[in-house]
């Protein structure tokens, strides 16, 4: 039997981040055509790109994706909102106006050379308004995996005329109603419906790719934001079906595990859970109350999760945490075998040696934007590690590369398309879409 230290040495070598760029990419050779905006479409394309797919992001010349101008005044950095980058890594940026016939022809040509198309227009828009829906694009590429993301789905009573954002998905799915405490709703602080839906969407695209690897057949794949969140509410529906009742809000407690809570420390908050007998014993020792485990209120998992017992435990843990720092609680809890984690801030993430070592916080040096610090790929693959290669770019930054290298267009045709307004790049001085003022032409490809 191997000792644990040896296991961790072996794992560190297997995943060695310093060798990450030497390794191949899982989706090398797969091309993704990204026709989407904001997060719910760009993100699945981004996730496929992290695994090595070549992603071509199509944007409206002049203005581009609305995330480029998202946020209050403090978000603007080098002529673009910081909100733009998190769903747009390592993409090729092309400016194509899909309202123009020449632009539509380019999309068809790109779709013919792509493996996956991702879009998040309202249901039917690409077909009805642009002639670029699934039924048209599969004509030019029967192997195409066409991924369409919406709020409520492509069909059904709510699909017509209703747009959606993450916050709406939180509300209508029922997730808001089971989150937090009291009567006033708690809005989840990130765009959870976009991001979770996006990884589910990438997942389905890859399952479709597996089917295509087996059979050569493409297909239409859809993901609805609201349906993603409904899917992620564990026992809520089964409970409603059996009892006819709504699952009650539990705040930071848990219907299953007690104690479970978030406790104030000197320098922030700690989350602590003890779900097993062994962890509970460890917790009793940790807070200096080893006899608690014999207290009839706390003798079993069942008694501990009764609300009076859970509240009593909560108060004891809260009192113990109050005079300590997060680091003190974390270190002592580890020794006691108790799950205790600091409530981390973005600053904590940026400063975490652990997250940096794992490239979950990813530092890179971009030819246009300089040093960047972003959240890196979540899953770590030993043989084909996911990676960030460069940051999102101004609108149409790679026009020449996409039009000449991928589509093989000549100078005359490009001039025509440009004159027609079918292709274009940023408009100088247009905030969000254009390069930083300090940019001197670095990073261009053609």
């Amino acid at each position: 039997m191997a000792n644990p230290r040896e296991y961790f040495r072996w794992a560190a070598k297997l995943f060695d981040p310093s060798r990450l760029h030497e390794k191949p990419e899982a989706l090398a050779g797969i091309r993704v055509l990204d026709l989407s905006v904001i997060y719910f479409g760009p993100a699945p394309a981004d996730y496929l790109g992290e695994l090595g797919a070549e992603v071509i992001k199509v944007e409206m010349p002049g203005q581009g994706d609305v995330t480029r101008i998202l946020g209050n005044a403090s978000f603007f950095w080098q002529n673009v909102s910081v909100a733009f980058f998190c769903a747009n890594h390592s993409k090729y940026h092309v400016g194509i106006d899909m309202h123009k016939p020449g632009g539509q022809a380019l999309i068809r040509q790109l779709a013919a050379r792509s493996d996956i198309v991702v879009e998040n227009f309202r249901a039917g828009t690409l077909e009805e308004k642009f002639g670029l829906g699934y039924r048209q694009l599969r004509e030019v590429n029967p192997r195409l995996v066409y991924v369409a993301n919406t709020g409520f789905g492509q069909w059904g009573p709510f699909s017509q005329g209703r747009a959606s954002y993450d916050g709406l998905a939180q509300a209508v799915s029922g997730l808001t109603a089971i989150t937090g405490e009291g009567e006033i709703p708690t809005k989840i602080g990130n765009y959870i419906g976009d991001w979770f839906g996006a990884s589910m969407s990438a997942l389905a695209a890859l399952a479709a790719l597996h089917w295509r690897d087996r059979t050569g057949e493409g297909q239409f794949v859809e993901m609805a934001q609201c349906e993603g969140l409904l899917r992620a509410m564990d026992w809520t529906w089964l409970y409603a079906g059996l009892t006819g009742r709504d699952r009650q809000k539990a705040g930071n407690g848990d219907h299953v595990f007690a104690p479970s809570g978030v406790y104030r420390c000197k320098d922030g908050y700690m989350a602590i859970v003890a779900g097993t007998e062994r962890e509970f014993k460890g917790l009793c020792r940790l807070i200096g109350r080893p006899t608690l485990e014999q207290d009839p209120r706390f003798v079993s998992r069942e008694t501990r999760r009764q609300s009076a017992s859970a509240r009593a435990l909560d108060a004891l843990i809260a009192a113990w945490c109050l005079g300590r720092t997060r680091a003190q609680v974390e270190a002592a809890a580890r020794k006691a075998g108790v799950a205790a984690a600091p409530v981390m801030t973005a600053k904590d993430h940026a400063e975490s040696a652990h997250l940096r070592e794992r490239r979950s916080v990813w530092e890179h040096d971009d030819p246009v934007y300089g040093p960047m610090l972003e959240y890196g790929p979540a899953p770590k693959l030993s043989a084909t590690p996911a990676r960030i290669k460069w940051a999102g770019k101004p609108v149409g930054f790679h026009n020449d590369f996409v039009l000449r290298r991928i589509l093989g267009l000549g100078e005359a045709r490009i001039r025509e398309l440009s004159a027609e307004g079918a292709i274009g790049q940023w408009a100088d001085g247009r905030r969000g879409a254009c390069p930083p003022g300090s940019w001197k032409g670095e990073g261009r490809l053609v």
């Binding site: 090595g52 209050n72 209508v172 808001t176 479709a208 597996h210 984690a341 959240y375 030993s382």
Partner: protein, 435 residues
């Protein structure tokens, strides 16, 4: 927007066509994307690992859940006031489409049988403490040698490597939400952070684990090589934390809690309505214009406090704007407001919907028509209302074939199928506590 390009034959409008292609009742007639895969689910008191195998099983993989005799701890997970067949609702809800096998991995024979399965498996998913299975000779180090095509997925809170990996505690949703930064940005600025109500980190971890598995599978088609995949539930959720770390890097701002307000876009909030609460958004200029029109307050669209996205996203103005919206919204029910929103001719569009308690979501026909929920009359567990797979695929739709089964329900079948073990040998294995 006729939808009928000139010169093409008449055909169904998009919504009718795609509905027919995705018809929920026709799902069983279609093939399954992953029905060439065998997955070993070794999750043990680990919801994220359980769910990863669930996703693969919904897409058609043969998923074999390996549990100790008597069942794994997650079978007990559920609320206190309801259970099915003596088992916890959290487990019963998600342990679907499985073949259930019991094996005591503490016995040599149990480990031998597991190796026999791993030698043939495409994917193995586990959520033990990092290094735990390795100590039994059942980690990727050993199984990857036995089966170089194996994709081995290990789920944990801190991951398999990095300074905090050794000695890490067990993984819980709450602690993952804390590490991810999601807790820090959810709730009111002057109150403690608030966690998302469901075990969201487990769903996120499973989604990433499955994305990586399918990516690795594509790579295996080309290279013949399997690999190991390391997924932290905390990092899974942290990847969803918008631009928080870049905002800090670029501007020094640490994003905090903003309650019903939003630092990036506004209005994008909850407001009171006559019959409860609702979500409402219209943050770009045309969409905000639509909201003002629907509210009968067109002057707000040019108000110096609210006229541009930058004006609308200062905290002082957000407070005032939310108040203005609520003054109007409290006089109408959510259904009345939705009717107004849908009747607005544009330009711009308002996003609006009620805050539904789960039973109200269940009362809406949309989700039932689309097959998001199904009531299964199960011979073992009785009537179960379950959420269905989240994806729709025209060629290979995912599906639920059967719900949870008791521990070891398929042991005899699996041992017969994979090891040629008949009833006599099975009795011996039972007597020795192996299965």
């Amino acid at each position: 927007m006729s939808g009928q390009p000139a010169g093409e034959p008449q055909r169904l409008p998009w919504a009718a066509w795609i509905r027919a292609e995705e018809e929920p009742s026709a799902i069983p007639d279609r093939p399954e994307a992953l029905d060439d895969l065998m997955v070993l689910d070794l999750s043990h008191g680990h919801y994220g690992a359980l769910l990863a195998a669930t996703y693969l099983a919904e897409l058609g993989a043969e998923a074999i859940k390996v549990e100790p005799p008597g069942g794994e701890p997650a079978r007990q997970w559920g609320p206190a006031d309801a259970s099915v067949n003596g088992e916890g609702l959290a487990f019963v809800a998600e342990a679907r489409n499985r073949y259930h096998l019991t094996l005591d991995l503490g016995t040599r024979e149990g480990r031998r049988l597991l190796k026999g399965l791993a030698a043939r498996a495409d994917v193995l998913v586990e959520g033990f403490a990092p290094g735990y299975l390795d100590r039994f000779g059942l980690g990727y180090r050993q199984l990857g040698r036995l089966n170089p095509r194996l994709i081995y997925v290990a789920c944990s809170a801190y991951g398999q490597f990095g300074p905090l990996a050794p000695g890490q505690p067990a993984e819980y949703d709450l602690t993952d939400q804390a590490l991810s930064g999601l807790l820090h940005v959810t709730g009111d600025p002057d109150s403690p952070p608030v966690k998302v109500g469901s075990w969201m980190s487990a769903y996120a971890q499973a989604a990433w684990a499955t994305v990586a598995t399918l990516g690795a599978l594509h790579w295996r088609e080309r290279s013949g090589q399997g690999q190991m995949i390391d997924v932290s539930g905390a990092e899974a959720l942290m990847r969803y934390l918008d631009y928080a770390v870049l905002l800090y890097h670029a501007t020094g701002q640490v994003r905090g809690r903003t309650g019903l307000y939003e630092i990036a876009v506004f209005p994008y909030t909850f407001v009171r309505v006559k019959d409860g609460w609702a979500f409402i958004a219209g943050y770009t200029d045309p969409n905000f214009g639509a909201l003002c029109r629907i509210m009968g307050r067109p002057e707000l669209a040019t108000d110096p406090r609210f006229g541009t996205t930058l004006q609308r996203t200062t905290m002082a103005n957000e407070l005032q704007l939310r108040e203005e919206i609520e003054k109007w919204s409290v006089d109408y029910t959510a259904a009345e407001i939705l009717e107004k929103v849908l009747a607005d001719p544009g330009p711009g569009i308002v996003v609006f919907g009620p805050m539904n308690p789960p039973t109200r979501t269940l009362a809406e026909s949309h989700w039932w028509e689309r097959g998001c929920f199904r009531k299964l009359a199960d011979p073992v567990y009785g009537e179960l209302l379950l959420q269905m797979p989240a994806w729709r695929m025209t060629r290979t739709p995912p599906r639920v074939k059967w719900p949870c089964r008791p521990a070891g329900y398929h042991t005899a079948h699996l041992l017969q199928r994979y090891f040629g073990v008949g009833p006599r040998r099975l009795t011996e294995l039972r007597d020795h506590g192996v299965v």
